[in-house]
Symmetry: C2
């Protein structure tokens, strides 16, 4: 008997907040590009208010506002208060990695509960699988670090080899 009615338990996923953050950054990157091409006054080039971004993607405005504040606090965005204010990228879109965004919003990511900030393990002596999993963790970190916000704009081109066959050289 199959129970497909379950809500869905997708573990090992990033939160909706991180999703929203990535979408917002992508949007701002596009706006910056358009503003640069249009040659408009470089003052607020590409700056958009939280409300505008929220409406563009149908995201709860208040929630997105908090996410953007977090991103600004992390130094990924510049905020400008007041009329015609808003957020703009603090750096070039190519210099902001998906890893930075996710870490800023969701905190440090560790694939296993063993690995903490200091590398200590809750299960102290009895956990024997943390070394292989740490390699997986590092690989995912590298993977996300290699993807920039600028990469999110291109739909599906310019990716010569989506996957090669294994980042870790373990063969079975």
């Amino acid at each position: 008997m199959r129970r497909n009615l379950r809500p869905h338990t997708p573990m090992l996923r990033l939160t909706k907040k991180a999703d929203y953050g990535l979408m917002a950054l992508k949007y701002l990157a596009e706006q910056a590009y358009l503003a640069e091409q249009a040659g408009s006054d470089a003052r607020n080039s590409g700056a958009r208010s939280a409300k505008d971004i929220a409406e563009a993607y149908h995201i709860p405005p208040q929630l997105l506002a908090k996410i953007l504040q977090t991103l600004a606090r992390a130094g990924l965005l510049l905020s400008h208060a007041g009329t015609n204010g808003g957020y703009a990228l603090a750096r070039a879109a190519a210099d902001i990695s998906a890893f930075e965004v996710i870490r800023a919003i969701d905190g440090p990511l560790f694939i296993t509960s063993c690995i903490t900030i200091h590398g200590t393990c809750d299960l102290a002596g009895h956990c024997t699988i943390k070394e292989p999993l740490r390699k997986v963790n590092d690989s995912i970190t590298d993977l996300l670090s290699g993807i920039s916000v600028a990469d999110l704009i291109e739909p599906a081109d310019q990716l010569p080899a989506p996957m090669a066959g294994g980042l870790i050289s373990i063969e079975r």
Copy 2:
């Protein structure tokens, strides 16, 4: 007062249950190897009760029992009820991937909330970042699929190049 001093929010991690499951499988793989070497009767070679495994790793026995049941239902373990019963690997340790274990326990893993089982996106038309993230998702899947339970036994040897420099060929 049990105060859990865990301030950080480690997202993108697998659950403790998956950790326990991997540890249990590793343990059973070791037992199977020892039993095979000792040349004992191959009947219950390497079979151990849930209680034994739980004690070996200081895991709550009832919780581990449920995890092992899940693994048995997924076809990764063989269960044998009754006195001197227990669990044993259903296949060779080299033929059970970490991906199978995690999927069996935590369910299908999708890095973004966009990607569901049917590939549909909650944010229907307005989510524009799912294609790049799907590649990340596939890469992680491949990564975990390439690691077998047998690989967990070796501490940290025989891994020529822990990481090469990028599974996805995106350069920034």
